[in-house]
Structures are given as C-alpha cells and as structure tokens.
Symmetry: C2
Subunit: 228 residues, 2 copies
DNA sequence: GCGCCTAGAATATGATCAAATTGCCCCATG
DNA sequence: CATGGGGCAATTTGATCATATTCTAGGCGC
C-alpha cells in the first residue's frame, strides 16, 4: 500500500535506493542520538510500525541492531527500552571516550585538509548560534556533526565505530541535561581543537579533545546527580 | 515443518526457554569466534536456514546483530561475509585491546575471589593441555573462557561489551593462524596474570595482560604477513 | 563482446501462534 | 460494610512462519 514504487511522476531515486530496515535504523538512531526518546522510555515494535509506517520485519531488525549498539536494552522479558545511564556507566564512558576520541583526534590531524577545517569551522559557527539561541536540538546535531566529520578522516574504522556507539549511549541523557541546564552552560572547546588542526599539532588536538570530552561528560554527570 | 514443538520424545525444556533468534545468534557467534567460518567466506540467509534448521526471520535478526558487532560485513549489494583482517585493522585492534583489556584486568583484580582464581587456574590448565596436544579448537575456547571469566568480574559492562566485540573481529583470523603455525608457538602469559591476581596487584595484572594481548596479536600479524 | 533473459536469493508484508502484562472481579479480612 | 490482595481472563505485544515481490547475477543467444 501507500506508494511502494511511487506514482512514477516524481523523479526521485534516493528513497528506493536503500532498504527499509536501513531507513528505519537511521531514523531510530537519530531519534536516540538526539534525544527524541527519553531514557527509560519503552520502545514497542508495533508502536514503531505505526509511527514510521514500516513493516514489522524491518523494525525488528533495526531494533536488534540498536540493542547490539547499546542504544536500546532488552529487559529480560521481551520488553525493549531506552537505557538509563547510571553513575558507574558514566564513569566507564568517560574512560573510553577519553581514550578513543583523543586517539581519533590525534590520527585525524595529519589527514585533515584545509577544506575539512573549513567545514569544521562552519559547523562550529552553527554550533555557537545554537548555543546562543538556546536551540537544544541544533546544539546536539551540530556537536555530533563536528566530532563525526573529524573522526571520518582518522582512517580508523574500528575506533570510529566504537566512538559512534558510545555517543548512542549518552545521547538521550545529554538531551535531558541540556533541556534542564540550558545550552548556555555548555562550554565550546572546539575552538582549541580547530586551532590544533590548523597547526597540524596532533598532540595538542588530542589534549583539546580530552578537555572537550571531559567537560561534556561532566555536564551530564552534574545533570544526573540532580535527577537522583 | 521439522519439529517446532519437538516430537515430545526428547524431554528437554531448556531450548524452548530462550527465543530462536537468540539461539541462532549464539550459534553463529560461536562459529565466528572459534573460527568455524573462515575470513572472506560468504554467509547466506538460506544457507543458515538449512544448516541451523531455523526459520528465516530469526536468521535475519541474528545476522543483523552480528553485522553490528563487526563479526560480519555487509558488502553493499546484498551479500554478507566474514570480514578479512587487514594490517591497518590489526593495528587498531592492538591499540584498543591494550587499552580496554588492561583496564578490565586492573578493575577485575580487587573483585576476584579465591574461587574465581581457582576457576581461572583450572581453565589455564585445560589451555596448557590443548596447546600440548595441538588441539586448536580447544585452545581457542579455553583462551576465550579465561579472558571472558576474568572480565566478568570487572563490573564494567561497557568495557566488557567492547572487548567481546573485538574478539569477534579477530576470531576467524586467529583460527587460521593457529592452524597454520600450530598451537606450540603460542606462549602462555596467563601464568603471570594469575600470579598478579593472587597478589591482588592490579598494576601487575594490567601489565601481564598487556603482554598477553601484544603477543597474541603479534602472532596474528605474523600469520597475516605470511598470507600476503 | 554486448545485451537480454532466466534463475535464485534477499527483502518485505501479513497472518498466525504464544506469552506476558494489565485490569477486573471475587473473596477474605479488618 | 469497606478495603485490599490474589487469581483469572482479555487484550496487547512479541515471535515465527509462509508467501509475494524485487533485485542481483550469471548464462545464453545474437
């Protein structure tokens, strides 16, 4: 039903190009990453079937992938929900993020071209705008974009894969914290990272990244303390 | 068809307790982890449906999870296969394994009881036997068991999750290398780890683990060089 | 050598079966 | 007589299967 092969009139080629389970995965992933889903919220298959207008099998496959990503948790019985971050989880995340993302920054530095630096600068400008206007959703998107684009040039697929997964774990909590404390409280350490990239100083980039990661996680930690 | 609810003859109750897609996942996971599937080998849905005697949907879900784990790769068209490890991949694996597994050893040390040390010692004995008798499959199983049991006491679910995934990536290659070089060439650094655990010396445990990881990965690196 | 055509495998849908949660009713008790 | 707890049933949801559709690949003819 709906339009499987469309009305042939609209000359689109994109949507049909990738499979339905991939579409569903990307959509759900974005919703989790950018905090559209609250920690603890139950995720039902049939709910997503209605919401996303997809079939049952693609939704199931997307959920399995996200469980494997750590973005969703299987609650023993057959319930699936968005995980709630505990203090211990956060401590682990800090350790792994510091290790992995610093290394990614270090490795990306020699491969980053002027064009990429320009793109990163552009993203950072948009991020500043989002912070100043209190646009929480925009802040989350631009912040992720910055890190994601940088890591894409580290030529380290396994490390990048791990980092991406970590972001899925604290995404929902970051949204909650941002909404509670406001975007003003978030410092922007990206300027230091950009400066390091321009100087082609890998160690400085790693150091700046460590500070960025620590401050971001610190904010989440404070937010979670308030919740307790 | 086949036996959905079994022929009532075999009085087992366990298998029905966990869902089919979980069974399929565990089986496929073991096959990859212990090298029953060689790197580069194509994995087809219908092939697994026949081999494992399961339905199509559970097999699809298991494959999605394993792709997300990095244990399988989606080849763009609709083909799925066991990934082939490159030199760059191996270098990344070494970095992450050293970081993560050393930390896991460090964290596990204070939580490991005498009973656990006894279990680890028992596993290590079985591992020695496997090495001496040239039992490649036994070596792989016992080696994984040792690390897995140790990490289970680190009380660090995220780190353990990452480590588990890394093992899936080099499992197939480790099997190939072991079959080529023989188990004799594998040194056993577990004795040092056990000694560190008995002394409750976390730093020493981390150091011993680092040596174990490095030597294991070194073996794989040499094996891959031969293959090129 | 190139293009079409057929075969086979993967994707996606809907239906069916099984399980768990929830709400409700009845009974026991204060 | 009112209230709370326990058990039963109805409904919602998840798991599995059978089937139709689509896309890719390899073979055959031109």
């Amino acid at each position: 039903m709906t339009e499987t092969h469309s009305a042939a009139g609209s000359a689109q080629e994109g949507p049909t190009k990738l499979p339905a389970h991939e579409i569903v995965y990307q959509k759900l992933r974005s919703q989790i990453l950018f905090g559209d889903l609250v920690p603890g919220q139950a995720v039902t298959i049939q709910g997503l079937v209605e919401t996303l207008g997809a079939g049952m099998t693609p939704v199931r496959e997307a959920i399995r992938r996200l469980i494997s990503d750590g973005a969703l948790v299987f609650q023993g019985n057959r319930r699936v929900s968005v995980p709630v971050l505990g203090a211990k989880d956060l401590e682990e995340l800090i350790f792994v993020r510091k290790t992995v993302e610093c290394e990614l920054a270090r490795r990306a530095t020699p491969h980053v071209t002027e064009a990429v630096i320009a793109q990163l600068t552009s993203i950072d400008t948009a991020l500043d705008t989002a912070i100043n206007t209190g646009d929480v959703a925009g802040y989350l998107v631009q912040n992720y974009s910055f890190h994601s684009l940088l890591y894409a040039h580290a030529e380290a697929p396994i490390l990048t894969d791990i980092a991406d997964r970590l972001w899925l774990r604290f995404g929902p909590s970051l949204r909650v914290v941002s909404g509670r404390l406001g975007t003003q409280s978030f410092p922007d350490r990206h300027k230091d990272i950009l400066e390091a990239l321009r100087r082609r100083d890998a160690d400085m980039a790693a150091l700046a990244m460590e500070r960025d990661v620590c401050q971001g996680m610190e904010q989440v930690a404070q937010g979670l303390q308030v919740a307790n």
